[in-house]
Symmetry: C2
Subunit: 400 residues, 2 copies
Amino acid sequence: MAMPVPTALPPTLTGTGELFQLLRDGKPRTRAELAQLSSLARSTVTARVDALLASGLLEPVGEAASTGGRPPTRFALSREARVVIAIDLGASHASIAVSDLSGSVLRERTITSDIADGPEKVLARVAAIAVELLAETDRGPGDVAGVGIGVPGPVEHATGRLANPPIMPGWHDFDIPAHLGKQFAGPILVDNDVNLMALGEYVTTWRSAPHLMLVKVATGIGAGIVADGRLMRGALGSAGDLGHVQVAGAPADVVCRCGNTGCLEAVAAGPAIAAKLRAQGLDVNSSQDIVDAVAAGEIAALQAVREAGRDLGTVLATCVNLLNPSVIVIGGKLSEAGEYLLAGVREVVYQRSLPLATNDLRIVSTSAGGKGGILGAGAMVIDAVLAPRAVDSYVAQRTA
Amino acid sequence: MAMPVPTALPPTLTGTGELFQLLRDGKPRTRAELAQLSSLARSTVTARVDALLASGLLEPVGEAASTGGRPPTRFALSREARVVIAIDLGASHASIAVSDLSGSVLRERTITSDIADGPEKVLARVAAIAVELLAETDRGPGDVAGVGIGVPGPVEHATGRLANPPIMPGWHDFDIPAHLGKQFAGPILVDNDVNLMALGEYVTTWRSAPHLMLVKVATGIGAGIVADGRLMRGALGSAGDLGHVQVAGAPADVVCRCGNTGCLEAVAAGPAIAAKLRAQGLDVNSSQDIVDAVAAGEIAALQAVREAGRDLGTVLATCVNLLNPSVIVIGGKLSEAGEYLLAGVREVVYQRSLPLATNDLRIVSTSAGGKGGILGAGAMVIDAVLAPRAVDSYVAQRTA
């Protein structure tokens, strides 16, 4: 992982990155406001603001109302000072975006790309598109502060390597950061795609809910967990792996592709629902077909989706007791079946969870939809690039 | 919560608390070593070390080997510069300790105390003992840096208030920090007792395993979750509430005291096991009786405890998939039944969890035992007292 080398700042400037955190929300503030918020001496704030201005990370954005005398200047995060690249790899697609430091997407493209083509081919493809998108925003690889990338498998976040990802042949233990690091500067961070969907949902819609869980229901079922505003990845990066949790009350004879019986995926994911509907004579083969059948008002499809929601709810009730989130977001293709899936989930969660844990619990459909992964990938790398020590290093380099 | 008022430090000294974090582990270090570890200029390190020495938080502890010339001095955390009070309240007991800044218990006492006596009586009782213990270590309330307190109910950690605790009549919404704040200075932090057992286990035994789960099995069943080295409390402080999770495969006719059926507590906690053994003619009425029967080699007791372990394992398998911990610690009275409980847990967890999540998973008995709660309460408040900004404030006050 190519992290910026820490460079020594003069004593008065160490802590510049810390002060900068107060400006991460994009709101303009005066020196006096920053001094008050930080409890720092006015002279310290002035020196740090000057350094941040010199580095380009901060810019003056007009004046505050004067209380007599010259009106004080307001400063805010210079969103376009640098850009990040966000990548979301799926089984059969890849999305690539160039985003500014506020996380806003400046340019984005989605292509058909088979993850089974292996890391060299897939990464060369997305890197080439990233360079094109950079050019379209009048930038080059030198303007890139970092790269965030989501993959459909379990990732050891610290190293950015995948551990035996089932649907990603050739990717086991491949060093994605080292590979992309040949083309792009800054940190290159890799995470599981569902984790990044959860992060994307959190940063764009639910900043007020720092305990959030996102559940993706499609061909498989997985979850991303945000606790105290941070992604919870677990010891080996496999946290949130809900698909093979045993569903209480599920028929013991349903065999899952993992070899166990009664797994959530084996009763509530797209293929299981489709099989159930085919047994009833419907021509349903994919998650999209299920969504279409629900939209067409097929009673059997409404019933099957609601039943899948109940099975999902049985597992989520356990998650609610265990994690005490304030929001559960349902995403993935099957969330497009709308209220039928959610109704089943709510039915069981509110019955089986403890009253304290469901007092303020909301269970909702995704807001970010298919964009969640790319927004989360951007947010993850921006968080690293704008962290206190990273900003200290950047300011030191730019003002040396 | 009585937090120290931030005082402005001179610019060169802001960040002193940050530097101090490098010394939290108690290992002695030279100025040169600190400069290298922190990437700070030598002059900055010298100024901060001087401020920490003046505040009393740091002390010289002998000299490093010389590389020619005067040998450099080593500095380390002055463990006894201040003390904290740690309190663990149970249903029928209270433990009170005075600990140094490394978390070592200097004096400790456990008394019989009924939590149902209500907050004023119970807190007056433990505060009086705390003052006695302080005197025994030649300290007074002025030497207290903060208070950590564990209670047997759900706590909103930010405010230190309890939310309808079932076994704590009179404690709902009581302001523990404000009440104890009349007698003791510094932060007064309240948390659930099982959370603090998890933290105590983590800081004393499992620092190398920042993803840890502690499960207390006694009259009830609850869990404390440490993720990335931090306690995971959830939106309302009820995270880890495992007792009323539905056990897959449990008989649907077992009614729990919560009104639902098939809850973990209703099949695997002390009262459930005792009832099962009484139905087989054994005179078993408490968790201690169960432990004794196991120790005496009663076959029925061995079988019942192992079966409870399997039910617990069914729920923990879900926790493993969801949280991906590297250690599960089993504590509480029933953990004294030793390998029989653990064997049942392991049997199901290794069968039902995903291979990646169980690769490095250890399932062990508690090391801290009955001391976990008090050690966790101490660790919680020390963490607050020695946090960067708290140290900055303290240094500013002491060197003003």
